[in-house]
Symmetry: D2
């Protein structure tokens, strides 16, 4: 049963493991609901894992300063399909600026093969209502 | 209850409206399950809508030649948050090559504001087992 | 003879035609110096034309407010090679935010074929020393 | 005097140091001709260095099999401006497929600061006229 109050990352089963930032980590078990109709993991799943992970890890690092983290761009390249097992995601910060952070996320299959690369730009902005 | 045999696009509620290709169209109703925890649409949702739409529209155009369509890259830029209503997606083919198609997808909110842009590269390859 | 005080856009021969922004236009005559060794236009030339054009057009639009324009990302897709004639570049603004502008540039050959697409994100920031 | 038969990489002064592929290396001395009018390195210069380096390194690796290398996309993120010294470029292959290679290039200044990141997708195709 789907909890109607769930969010996308929980719906898909993204497990956040380590906020990093050197590096940050998450994983996801492959089930039909994260795949496209031909049974391989949907590109949107890779994008979702990376964006969830990088937004969370940026927020963990900047919230103490009253800042929020908001995805600005998500560039995913798909190298190799995955159809079962667990996806491992490892995100490394490449730039930690005052207004933007840039992360590179590697997504691999059970055998350790690199299957997707995602470069995220996260905007860092004052928390709405912060004060 | 979530049908365990569902796929990602159906789980999120992506509705494919028109295979295009000039242009192709889809829509999605905003509910908590497509959002991040702060109640705005997750970047992964925009990526998922665009990839579902562009893969489908490419496949519809090339399957008659025994070809399959596979996402190669998905570049999303997020311009403006959405927190309710219906997301409209319109995908226009910018290149229809022998081995790759390139699509630009515009995603807008109920008020017609452009909220995200996604450029997809789709690889066109002989259908596995085709013959 | 190369003027040692020239800048990259002038060195290559980028001609800025119209600051736009709906749309902005530039052109470049193809000569060996903008090509790679096999005689087709270098991908870096397409990136340079687009970045010169979008930075200029953004700056023209925001300088009255004491703001400067600085390239933040440049995403180029190459569709079709060019080996002679004149490259026409047309840049359309897709987002004009307070802190970032996003532009789509189409680069075409003499026959009007679309040969490259470039999406630029331009950061808009207070002019250094402005006041 | 500019040699009229030069190509873009030579015009700018890109020095190819090591074809890699683990990793490949190049460098470029900063002079006004690789900058924009405000005296910082033009984004197109970073794109040109990366594309020259990755195309060359891919070609060195595949030419023995009668294959050619052609840039398909170039995604550059600009982190930090450079106004003098020497730019060091280090390109690491992330995927070496039958039809595409993907490279990540890091571009740094004299002080070792990371200043730009470029992800290149290179198409690998049979050499035209190959036998």
């Amino acid at each position: 049963m789907t909890d109607e109050s769930t969010d996308l990352a929980r719906l898909l089963g993204v497990e956040l493991l380590d906020p990093g930032p050197e590096p940050a980590r998450a994983q996801l078990e492959v089930t039909p609901k994260v795949c496209q109709p031909f049974g391989i993991v949907h590109g949107g799943t890779f994008a979702t894992i990376a964006e969830t992970l990088c937004s969370w890890a940026t927020y963990e690092a900047v919230k103490g300063d009253g800042m929020a983290a908001l995805g600005q761009s998500n560039q995913a390249s798909f190298l190799r399909p995955i159809s079962d097992g667990v996806i491992e995601a490892v995100a490394s910060p490449r730039h930690r600026g005052r207004t933007t952070w840039i992360w590179d996320t590697e997504l691999s299959d059970d055998a350790g093969h690199l299957c997707a690369l995602v470069r995220m730009t996260i905007a860092v902005r004052p928390m709405p209502g912060g004060g």
